[in-house]
């Protein structure tokens, strides 16, 4: 089904608004995020891997 133009424009306005809202935080964290230390990568890959496997399982169940 074709999305109405007004809905496309309204959605674009909403996204641009959130981009402007997020920009200061993105700039701040890009500059000030602490460097990754040993063990950090594994500490993130374990939960992310769990999420990916779980979502695949959900997608296969429907």
């Amino acid at each position: 089904m074709e999305t109405p133009t007004w809905l496309q424009i309204g959605s674009a306005v909403l996204i641009i608004g959130f981009l402007i809202y997020l920009w200061p935080a993105a700039r701040h964290w890009a500059k000030n995020s602490p460097k990754m230390v040993k063990g950090d990568l594994a500490g993130v890959l374990i939960p992310f891997g769990g999420v990916v496997l779980f979502v695949i399982l959900l997608m296969m169940s429907v």
Binding site: T3, P4, W6, L7, Q8, G10, S11, A12, V13, L14, I15, I16, G17, F18, L19, Y21, L22, W23, P24, A25, A26, H28, W29, A30, K31, N32, S33, P34, K35, M36, V37, D40, G43, V44, I46, P47, F48, G50, V51, V52, F54, V55, L58, M59, M60, S61, V62
Partner: protein, 223 residues
């Protein structure tokens, strides 16, 4: 100053006990999720046009942007959180009605709902028990969200199913990262305002839910 600046500026200041922030955040988050779900059901029953849904989302964004930062340190902030989450919950109505109308729509919605709950609880438990510092993910998460939003902007006008699917998959990963990041910020004293913590976790949950809804809808051949 951006709220994330103030959060990092406060460092590990323990002027507000971490347990109190955590308890208040989870209590307010539970209440706002129930409130939001009630309004989503009301919205499904009323079946408003997508224009109403878009309007409530824009009003919620404006409140989040201009009003919440001014009220976050007073009791009015709690009311503002309910107003914002209520508007976002009401805005979900047309999307839920769209999925409810497809043959196995009920299963898609309930699977996305349950899946969101399991992912949120699992990641929160991991961040709380491991007590790891996930602040190194801040740059990746926020830049990632901006890239996804730019891709979504393109996706509005150039409707490519593969792009839409990739965006939903990226949103699931980014919101999972944001849950770990925000929970670790609370646990380590980097986030001392439970109103900001609540709204951040709420937005992660609602975005995770809609992304899962889209992925499951796509798999069942709806999108």
């Amino acid at each position: 100053m951006n709220r994330y600046d103030s959060a990092i500026a406060s460092g590990v200041s323990q002027s507000v006990p971490v347990n109190k922030v955590l308890k208040n955040t989870y209590m307010l988050l539970s209440a706002t999720l129930i409130w939001s779900a009630v309004l989503a059901v009301v919205s499904m029953a009323l079946n408003p046009s997508p224009l109403v849904s878009l309007g409530t989302s824009i009003v919620a964004m404006l409140l989040l942007w201009f009003v919440l930062p001014r009220t976050a340190n007073s009791s009015a902030g709690v009311g503002m959180v309910f107003l914002i989450t209520g508007l976002l919950g009401f805005g979900l109505g047309p999307t839920l009605n769209h999925y409810a109308a497809v043959p196995n729509g009920g299963q898609i919605i309930s699977t996305a709902f349950g899946g969101t709950g399991v992912i949120f609880l699992g990641l929160s438990a991991y961040a709380l028990t491991s007590k790891r510092d996930f602040s190194f993910m801040g740059g990746f998460i926020f830049i990632g969200m901006m890239v996804v939003m730019l891709a979504s902007l393109v996706g509005i006008f150039v409707q490519i199913p593969a792009l839409s699917l990739a965006i939903s998959a990226a949103v699931v990963l980014l919101m999972s990262g944001l849950i770990l990041f925000e929970t670790s910020q609370i646990v380590r004293g980097g986030e001392t305002n439970y109103i900001f913590a609540t709204i951040s976790l709420y937005l992660s949950i609602i975005n995770l839910f809609t992304a899962l809804l889209h992925l499951l809808g796509f798999m069942s051949g709806d999108d």
